[in-house]
Symmetry: C2
């Protein structure tokens, strides 16, 4: 009887190779891929609903939804996207590059200009897994409290952009916005930080303009 | 050179044995141990601050704080507890029974009447690890949205009590309280569900009375 034992180190290496493959595939097509992370209930799907509504006439967008169970989030986004794919991890706490690579074989995804991955709601485990994305966006809602960057540094340190969401609830929360921005800038000097509320619209155009700039730069990179 | 390979099954089994040991130790002393779980920012430490303040004159209480980094939560609770111990997981997404067992060797913990473990802020991974607790309490804040019990069922299904927190923010959130309570009752018919706000005091006495009843029952069990 043959028996194979995969050690954790090999699995991590395999995952990294998958991520590199995904990045290469996307680079050839000029497709921008975003990995959106945040706590359960930080407002990831709500942000995407508004973002897709704004961009759906302008770009071909595909979304990959990571959840333990249910297709609730995919259903919410389907009116606004060319394609929505739900991955149910059945208890798993993060997405991995292999699953994304499998989906990137589909023509509909590669024919997009933007692929957004909404990762499983979790501020810890997803940060450790490169999916082959171009850009990492981490959400922090003001209702979660201003101690989160210090307590969960990795997901903020490795991000390209942090969206501070639910800004409309700031008057009701004990959240020092200025201090959080300063702390984030110390963790990562290159970080783009955008406080945003999709309900009163504050900061939303700044987010959209930044995102459009990234999509256009990726498209241009394949032409040059 | 000797090499040992632990397979996941063995590790899970070892963890279960540790949890059983912890439960036995606590039963002999009549100490109630609670495992408090919830998303980052669901208000676990804030609830404990208010709970400890209320009970500190009545019971000997010890707290074990699980966090990736920092001792912020332990510092917040130290004025109200006989003993606070911080466990930094350094990136780890949950606590395990072995670490708790190590702490239960300390006299100060076993001399308590209540040990509260504030688990790492995570709605997924901690639910899979029995720490030897008597009671599991899961928090869900209204700002996280009412789809969470369906999306993260395990942490609610295996709980003894669910606290629906930040009730004072209900008027500003899209959260159907009645439907969430119904859904939770379907997931787990034995579940004690307490909507609570530590800011306006709503439901707080119900929580304290329930908790006191559990502490007293555990003390009595050792005498009988």
């Amino acid at each position: 009887m043959a028996m194979r034992i995969y050690l954790s180190k090999d699995l991590r290496e395999a995952s990294r190779l998958c991520a590199d493959d995904n990045r290469k595939t996307l680079a050839e097509q000029g497709v921008l891929m975003i990995n959106l992370m945040g706590s359960p209930g930080s407002g990831k799907t709500t942000l995407l609903e508004h973002t897709m509504r704004k961009l759906s006439g302008l770009y071909r967008i595909a979304v990959i939804e990571g959840d333990l169970y249910t297709a609730k989030d995919a259903e919410r986004l389907s009116p606004w996207c060319k394609q929505v794919t739900q991955i149910n991890t059945e208890g798993g706490c993060h997405l991995e590059a292999g699953s994304i690579g499998y989906l990137l074989k589909e023509e509909a995804l590669l024919d997009s200009e933007l692929v957004v991955i909404e990762n499983v709601g979790n501020l810890i485990c997803p940060a450790e897994f490169d999916l082959g994305e171009d850009i990492r966006v981490t959400q922090l809602s003001v209702t979660e409290g201003d101690d989160k960057p210090a307590k969960y540094p990795l997901v903020f340190k490795d991000a390209d952009c942090v969206l501070i969401t639910k800004l409309d609830l700031l008057p009701y929360c004990n959240f020092n916005l200025e201090r959080v921005i300063q702390e984030l800038q110390i963790i990562n000097q290159e970080l783009v930080i955008i406080p945003v509320s999709v309900y009163n619209g504050e900061g939303f155009d700044t987010w959209i303009n930044w995102l459009v700039k990234q999509i256009e730069a990726k498209k241009k990179s394949v032409l040059s």
